[in-house]
Structures are given as C-alpha cells and as structure tokens.
Amino acid sequence: MKGKYAWPDERGYFGEYGGCFVPETLMAPLAELSRAYDQVTKHRTFKRRLSDLLSSYAGRPTPLYYAERLTQRLGGAQIYLKREDLLHTGAHKINNAIGQSLLAHFMGKERIIAETGAGQHGVATATAAALLGMKCTIYMGTEDMRRQRLNVDRMRLLGAEVAGVDAGSCTLKDAINEALRDWVTNVRTTHYVLGSVLGPDPYPRMVRDFHRVIGDEARVQLKKETGRATPDLAVACVGGGSNAIGLFTAFLGDPVRLIGVEAGGTGSDLGHHAARFAGGSLGVLHGTRTMVLQDQDGQIANTHSVSAGLDYPAIGPEHVLLRELGRIEYFAICDAEAISAFHFLAETEGILPALESSHALAEVFKRAPNMNKKMVILVNLSGRGDKDVESVIAYDAEHADEIDREAELSIHPAMRKWSAPTTSEES
C-alpha cells in the first residue's frame, strides 16, 4: 500500500468516510484550525518544542519490551509490548494532548476543552493545560466519573474544571456532545482538544499524525531488538481508534497482519457492547460519516463496555476505509476476556494494563499459542491500569462464582458470540 495511500482527501474524506458534518458556527473555525495545523506544525519552532516536550516531559521514546515470561507461558509467538503506559499521565493520549494544546497555544487560544471517557485523555489535556498555562474544562459522563474516580481527582488537582454530563448513557458520547456545545459557544477563545481519530476534519488526520510516533518508534526498536523492523502481527484496541492508528500507520505498507480489537461488552445485542463493525451501520455522528451503533431510525444506541475508553458508539472514519481495503481486521473481545487478560498480564509480567489495552492483550493471548515461536507479535500497551483497579475488583466480586481464568481465556461462553477460538492459520 506504500505510495498509494494518501488519505484523507482535501475534503477530509477517507474514501467515503469522514467529512465535516457540523453546524455552520463551526465551519469557519474548523477551516482555520485546518490551516493552522498545516502551517504551524511544519514550522521549525513548533516541531522542536513538541519534540522537546515529548522527550523531556512526556517520556518518549517509550520502551519496547519483550515479554519473555508471557511468551513462554503461552508457548507460541514472541510478544513485544509497546509501553505507552509508561508515558507521563499513564497512556498514549498525552502525545495528542500536548500536540493539540501546543497548536492552540500557537494559535493564541487561551482556553482548551476536552471530552474524556476513561479519563486518560482528560488527565493528559489537563496536564498540557497546566504546562502551557491555559484554562481548561473537561467534560465527562457521570457514569464514567463513577468508574474512573481516580482520574477525576487527578484532573481537578491539575487545575482543570471537570464538568459532569448527566445525559444519555452518561458516557463518552454524551461528553463529546457537551464539549461540542461548549465549543460552538466559545469557539473564538477556545480550542477543542478532541481525543481520538474522530470528529470532523481535520481531527482524524491531526490526531493520527500526533500519534504516529508510536509505530515509528516501534519499527526502529524492533529492528534493533530482533533484526527486522516489522512484526508478523500488530494488535491494538479500538475505541475511537487513536492508539491503533498511531501504531498501525507505520506498518500499512508492510506485510504485517494488523488487528484492531473492539469492545464486545456482555453480548451481541444492541446496547450491550461497543463493537461497531460487528453490530453497526453507516451513519453520521459527531461530525463524521462512519460506522455507528444505531437503531433503524438513526438514533444513536447506548453502548456497554467494562472499559470506559472503548465505550463509544462510533469508530474513526479511517478505520472504516482500512477495513474496507482489507488492510486491518477487527475482532471483538468481551468484558470477561478483557478482565482475564488484565489479571494474566499482571501476574506473569508485573504490569497492570489499562482495561482498554487488556482487550488487545486478550486477542493476543488467543492467537499467540497458535503461532510459530519464531513469529513476532507487537501489541500496543496503550495505558496503565491503575485507574481500573476499583473496576476490576468490583467486577471480580460480582462474578466471583463464575471465575475460572485459565478456561475463560479460551472458552468463556460470552466469547463464542463474537469470535470462534482461532485456529493455527497464522503458523
């Protein structure tokens, strides 16, 4: 695909997906943002400042870690973890939060706002705001505030105002609605730091570009570690899809199998999951034309995932194109599998992964045993799991009588709804 792949087009479309579906009030500001993004980010001063902040402040490059015990335990392909969880604030989100906030700073905006689901993007944005001396408001669904309480406190301690959103499912989708309303009202002074490869142009490409450092670094590190720059398989979880795009973009032109993992929740009925490719259809939500979980009348469905960061009814438009082109495959992992993967990584490697990243890990745990020992799997450990400790303990207490972890990894009943256990197709 190298050379040919140059999306989005000048209208912000990735094939038939993407675009700019917003009220008139935002059209001129989005055009201004596009121009500023294209000009400012090419500027040497901006590039140097961003690169300095990413290395000396955020902690880049993040390590590439060969998970030896995990690999031995699963008995198949070698598993490498891209340790985005070791970044300042604990997730990949800081790449984009610093990038956009710095851009807003260069544009002369005095205030930034953001939505957050798991709280990681909110914490990253609040952090960037404190760093750059900007005012900051974070919108968060009240359900997410409950399950990610630690991050709410972190944002407040960083000086941000956290505005609870008590509408709809009280999760990420509703937080985006409210952030957009704020932006429509205060667009002259405020920049909206959208946290994923979603929304109207230029957000999907801008957020992708700020995250592509993940994959670019991994290539170099992998080459040093294994002698070859490309893995056989790369895996990442997909809520809006920013960490996945950030990892995959570097490998689009190579013979690397790419797998995105959606949240399968508790079952395949609408409202019980966030698997847009399994249960969604084309729609327009939050400014972009993409795959959306919705009813037949075009009303957006509520979603469920044990992971707040994946609990969203739409997926970034570029993912829809890349799936259509056959370049990325998508599978769903249910709540129980993700929780099992969380425990498994914690106990074999001493790493508490974010529940979002645990979905990617669960997919890897299913596939690795069926792959040749010489093969290499690269998985994006997009965030750390400290924020999820309460959720995991609560989940385990609720499901105490059903837990049989070893078995869950391969034959949990909820899993069959989504994907049959993998065969040895890859070896």
Binding site: R11, G19, A28, T185, V187, G283, L285, Q299
Partner: protein, 272 residues
C-alpha cells in the same frame, strides 16, 4: 410563488416580520403535536419550524435536549412525524419546515426521505449539521427534484466566503444564528445584531430569519425591524415542558404565541 415566498410577501405587505415558532415533534407525544401546531397557527405563526428529535443534538441547549429526550421516550421517529404531517397538513394553513439533524435522514435514505417529505406536504428542511459542502453531492439535487426548500444556517463566525456559499444553496430563507452557541433563551441580544443582519440581507437572494435566543415580544419587535423573520423556540418548548400534562396546553401555547406576535386575543382553541 411557493408557500414560503407567499408568507414572506404577505408579511412584507403588512410591514412586519414573519413569526416563526419552533416546537419539537412528539413532545409530549406525537398525538398531541397536531393540536399544538394548530395552536401555533391560531396564535399568528407565519411559518412553523418542526423539530425532529435526535439522541445526540449537539447544537441544542438543555431545553431542546430535554424535549428531544421526551419525544424519543414517547417513541417518536422521523417516519411517524412525516405521516403525522401528511394527515394534518390540510388543516394547517402555513408553511412547515422540518428542523433536523442529518443522521435520521441518512438512516432513512436521502431519496426516500425527500419522497416522503414532499408527499406529506412539508415545504422545506433545515438540517443543522449538514453544511453546504456536505449537501452538494446528493442532498441538494434530490431535495430540488422533489420541490423541497433547503434552508441553511449562517452564524456570527461565517466568513464572507461562507456567506456567499450559503447564499448559493439556501432556498426559501436563510436562518441566522444570532450568537455563537446552542439553542436557548437569552436575556440580552447582541448589540451588533442589527448591523450584521443588514449586511447579510444585502448578500442573500432570499429572506433572512433570525433565531437562537429570542424569547420576548420586545426582542421579536427589535429583531423584526432588521430581519424578515424571527424564530422563537426554547421559550415555547419550555412552556410545553412545564405544561405538558395540562389539558389546556394548546390554549396556553396559543396565548404565549399571541403575546409574542402581539395579536389581540381572539377565540381560544381547545381550552375546554
């Protein structure tokens, strides 16, 4: 002349601006909506904006959001709204314009939507999150083909180029959002509003209607001096929210509209 053009011509002849009330279809339920539409007409509406409830109304403030939530909870959807309009169109002697988000139209299919909307007797559609750029490929030609007006928004952030672009595609009228922000009542109106409206009118081939934040007779009169039409939405939606269960809701709505249009009290409808 289309019914919308006729409405503006009549208002111009009477040397006043058009009064354009907004209510949400299906709030409190779709069975009540026709009676509320009749009350709007009786109170002096010149054109009606009928809202289609959407689960994620990013351009609406809390009052209209709650109205959408109530309407959806009552089972309202676009297809039913169009059938309701078709059944009652004859008794409503004013143009009706649908005010909607794009996804319900996208789900129904643009062509099917246009066919059903035209058959129902609707006069035009304002799709808040469909800017001209996204409308040009399919929406505009299909709507034209079915004789439906396509109303577009203008905002304080609209640049000269954007005004030009909107002027090329908006038919029936253009809707100026009088401040940056979501729908909802405002106590004060932006001072530069009259100047802006005058400037915009010179660049538009169709009448200009002003909305977002208008809630009193004084504001209606004030804006009416500059614009050819004034929209009042949230203030009426709030009344429906507060009196939704009252049996005399249509009479109350009519009285509220009379206050806004400054029409003397005539015969009450649906009071008993």
């Amino acid at each position: 002349m289309t019914p919308i053009e006729e409405a503006f011509a009549r208002c111009a002849a009477e040397k006043r601006s058009a009064f354009v009330p907004f209510i949400m279809a299906g709030d409190p339920d779709l069975a009540t909506t026709p009676r509320l539409l009749e009350a709007l007409v009786a109170g002096g509406a010149d054109i009606i904006e009928l809202g289609v409830p959407f689960s994620d109304p990013i351009a609406d403030g809390p009052v209209n959001q709650r109205a959408a939530t109530r309407a959806l909870a009552a089972g309202t959807h676009l297809g039913e709204i169009l059938r309701m309009v078709a059944r009652h169109r004859d008794r409503l002697d004013v143009p009706i314009v649908l005010f909607t988000y794009f996804n319900p139209i996208h789900a129904l299919g643009i062509r099917r939507f246009a066919e059903q909307a035209a058959a129902s007797g609707l006069d035009g559609v304002l799709c808040v999150d469909l800017p001209p750029e996204e409308a040009e490929a399919e929406y505009l030609p299909v709507m034209r083909e079915h004789g439906l007006d396509t109303i577009f928004l203008l905002a304080p952030t609209s640049t000269k180029d954007r005004v030009k672009r909107v002027a090329q595609v908006t038919t029936g009228f253009a809707y100026y959002v009088s401040r940056t922000g979501v729908t909802g009542e405002q106590e004060t109106l932006p001072s530069e509003l009259r100047k802006t409206v005058k400037r915009l009118r010179r660049r538009l081939p169709v009448p200009l209607v002003v909305g977002f934040g208008v809630s009193s007779r004084e504001q209606v009169v004030e804006i009416g001096k500059a614009a050819q039409g004034v929209v009042v939405g949230s203030a009426l939606v709030r009344l429906i929210e507060e009196e939704g269960r009252a049996r005399d809701l249509p009479a109350k709505l009519e009285a509220a509209v009379r206050k806004l249009t400054g029409q003397p009290k005539g015969s009450e409808v649906g009071a008993q």
